[in-house]
């Protein structure tokens, strides 16, 4: 497993690598994670299940991405690979320079390489064009690619001109045992026992008798443009005005926090909109359990693990219909809206109505979600991909040069040259 993104940094990719490594190790494989240094954390560390983590000393450029040196990482990488007798190198995330370099070196050394793509890219702006070109270069010679959703697969196939048969879709998963519902946390001020009774008792007998008084809506995301915070700013005042019994709890931090605070001041909603700031990953479950509805306003999302976590905590999910989100949850657990103010308000209205009728059983939702996603299943499917990668025939130097040459008219020549130099360095290192 190679990626710039690993603990102690927090995020979807980090969690993915961690859980996948743990499950693979439990299935009897030897797993080694290679990432760059984090502060003073350099050298080898062990995770609980015996997974070895190499924190390679490396310079960083921006946002935990290591400096692309092309060959600087090769000697150390070769040392690790030989010492650990690695068969398959699995790189994660297109942003990670280390992942690209590792795949190139692995192929030079005749190892199998697998790549997992965690995000979606457009084809318009300069940064996407550059990243796509880089991805095309790396994936010119790869055994298998894993995407986290079908939409992501379509995207990756287009970006890197891959054969779709070489791309598998393996979704992310959630440790459902860590995200259990607890309706008693929803409204600490109101009668706990009474509320709890309504959930525990057979739903039908209570459904039309006891109505929910107060509805809490939870938002948990980084407060950035891509997460649709502008939509949130527009929607919250309208919802608060229409439903006096609704309150919002927003967890997360980012540049858009100021706009949320301004909105709260302008509409005097200080007592109804709580801004918690950055929330520790271990506290996310407690945050989610405070709410009835989870609102996701993302503008782009490959998989959206947040809505699965929310559903696992028994919340009704309202989300924008973007990227891979429509593939993630069945229609009766999620309400979709187009990424526009009016439509989100419409979906929220429907969701609040459902909650008021007490028609949602959090434990039932939790039970269903825990049957849908599990890391063990992900690991088993990844194992199949590794097996398939191992069965791929070995590729000679000439064939590899041809593949890299296919990158483009000029880029292809450049890519082939980079590969050839890599090969020479490898021969020097092997002496």
């Amino acid at each position: 497993m190679v990626s710039d993104f690993f603990y102690p940094n927090m995020g979807g990719v980090e969690g993915h690598i961690y859980h996948l490594s743990q499950r693979l190790a439990r299935r009897g494989h030897k797993v080694v994670v290679v990432t760059h240094r984090y502060g003073g954390r350099v050298g080898v560390r062990y995770l609980t299940s015996g997974v070895k983590v190499y924190h390679v000393p490396h310079w960083l450029v921006h946002d935990q991405v290591s400096l692309p040196t092309l060959y600087g990482f090769f000697p150390l990488f070769r040392y690790i690979v030989v010492r650990e007798s690695i068969d398959v190198v699995h790189g994660h995330q297109a942003f990670s320079a280390m992942c690209h370099e590792a795949i190139l070196h692995a192929r030079t050394m005749g190892l199998r390489a697998v790549f997992t793509d965690h995000s979606l890219f457009g084809f318009e702006d300069t940064s996407s064009i550059l990243t796509n070109k880089l991805l095309k270069f790396t994936l010119s010679d790869i055994d298998h690619v894993i995407c986290v959703s079908h939409t992501s697969k379509e995207n990756t196939v287009l970006r890197a001109s891959l054969n779709p048969l070489h791309v598998s879709v393996i979704p992310n998963a959630v440790v459902c045992a860590e995200f259990t519902p607890d309706p008693s946390m929803r409204d600490p001020k109101k009668s706990k026992a009474g509320y709890f009774a309504s959930v525990v008792a057979p739903a039908d007998s209570f459904r039309h008798v006891r109505l929910v008084n107060s509805v809490t809506i939870v938002v948990a995301s980084r407060l950035v443009y891509r997460k649709g915070i502008d939509l949130l700013v527009a929607v919250i005042p309208a919802i608060c005005q229409e439903f006096p019994q609704v309150q919002f709890v927003i967890g997360g931090d980012g540049p858009k926090r100021v706009e949320l605070e301004q909105m709260r001041e302008r509409f005097v909603l200080q007592d109804r909109v709580q801004l918690l700031g950055a929330v520790n990953h271990s506290d996310v479950r407690d945050l989610l359990c405070q709410g009835h509805i989870f609102l996701n306003t993302s503008l782009t999302e490959a998989f959206c693990i947040a809505i699965v976590e929310a559903a696992s905590c028994g919340l009704l999910v309202v989300s924008t219909r973007v990227g891979g989100v429509p593939e993630v949850l069945p229609d009766d657990m999620i309400m979709f809206a187009n990424p526009e103010e009016g439509d989100i308000i419409r979906a929220m209205r429907a969701a609040i109505g459902t909650i008021k009728e007490n028609a949602v059983d959090p434990f039932e939702i939790h039970r269903r979600v825990s049957n849908m996603y599990s890391w063990t299943d992900v690991a088993a499917r990844a194992e199949e991909v590794y097996r398939c990668a191992m069965e791929m025939p070995a590729v000679g130097l000439a064939e590899r040069l041809l593949r890299y040459n296919g990158c483009g008219v000029f880029a292809g020549k450049l890519a082939a040259m980079i590969m050839a130099v890599d090969f020479i360095i490898w021969m020097l290192l092997d002496e």
């Binding site: 779709p164 070489h166 782009t300 103010e341 088993a380 199949e384 593949r403």
Partner: protein
């Protein structure tokens, strides 16, 4: 490179982690969902693959003559620059009495500004003229020519050709005007008499600062704007040619060739490379917030 769609590679045909393909008939149809476990391999490619991809939805077909009309603005700015340079050369060689420029400038400025602000502007400029004249005495003429040319090119490059509004011009436009005024100061300081300096500065203010405003307001006022754009272009080209003719025939040839290139050849190239345009859109794009 691996092929994008045609013909699966033989080694890839074996399904990854799934039932053999024999049971295809009885299986339920594949659905684009992640929350159900389907009896299909993870690398299964359905018929619906890339169905939501849209190509060239936002591309509008360009009409050659429309593009030609759009280039008028470029020709205008080019002509304005040429007129300014030609006027400087005439003043510098002394072939035109500076009084002509002075009178022409004064009338146009007074027409554009209110009388009081025009008076203020004239006094200021008149007061500054002797300073401007001596400003670059210590700098070699070669450096002046070079800087003036660079600044005029910057003016052409950053001019706001696109936006039609006269109140909300985009940022680089101010850069463009500043560059032009800087080159005007540089050139004016090369002139001999105070009158010449004053006349050239007036002309620069008119051509680079006030004239674009006039063009924009004309465009906004009269629809379709093609009429005014065409009118201004023709007038400016005639002016420029008339001013360049006494200087040299080569300059006239270069100028007309440049105008023809911008007006006719560039649009032709733009329209002809339209067929290579491939814009891909799909569900992976960042959504645009609608209202």
């Amino acid at each position: 490179m691996e092929p994008v769609s045609p013909g699966p590679l033989p080694e890839a045909a074996s399904p990854v982690g799934g039932a053999p393909a024999a049971a295809l008939g009885q299986r339920p149809r594949w659905r684009k969902l992640l929350y159900i476990r389907q009896d299909y391999p993870d690398n299964y490619v359905d018929k619906s693959f890339l169905k939501l991809m849209k190509r060239n939805v936002n591309v509008r077909q360009l009409d050659y003559w429309d593009v030609v009309c759009e280039t008028f603005r470029v020709s205008q700015q080019l002509s304005v620059t040429v007129i300014f340079v030609a006027a400087f050369l005439h003043l510098d060689s002394g072939s035109v009495p500076s009084v002509t420029g002075l009178i022409a400038g004064s009338c146009a400025i007074s027409a554009c500004l209110a009388i009081t602000s025009a008076a203020l502007f004239f006094t200021m400029l008149l007061g500054l003229t002797p300073i401007l004249k001596n400003l670059t005495e210590n700098i070699s003429s070669d450096s002046i020519w070079f800087m003036a040319i660079v600044m005029l090119l910057a003016n052409l490059l950053f001019h706001d050709y696109g936006s039609g509004s006269s109140t909300h011009t985009r940022f680089p436009d101010s850069l463009s005007i500043n560059a032009a005024m800087f080159s005007a100061v540089l050139l004016a300081s090369q002139l001999e008499s105070n009158n010449d300096v004053f006349g050239l500065m007036l002309l620069a203010v008119q051509l680079f600062a006030l004239f674009p405003i006039l063009r924009r307001s004309m465009r906004a006022w009269h629809h379709p704007s093609v009429f005014w754009d065409g009118f201004f272009t023709v007038v400016l080209v005639i002016f420029a040619v008339a001013l360049l003719l006494p200087i040299s025939h080569a300059s006239v040839t270069f100028y007309t060739a440049a105008i023809a290139f911008v007006t006719f050849f560039c649009p032709y190239m733009l329209v002809s490379i339209q067929k290579y345009k491939s814009e891909i859109r799909g569900p992976w794009d960042e959504a645009v917030i609608g209202h």
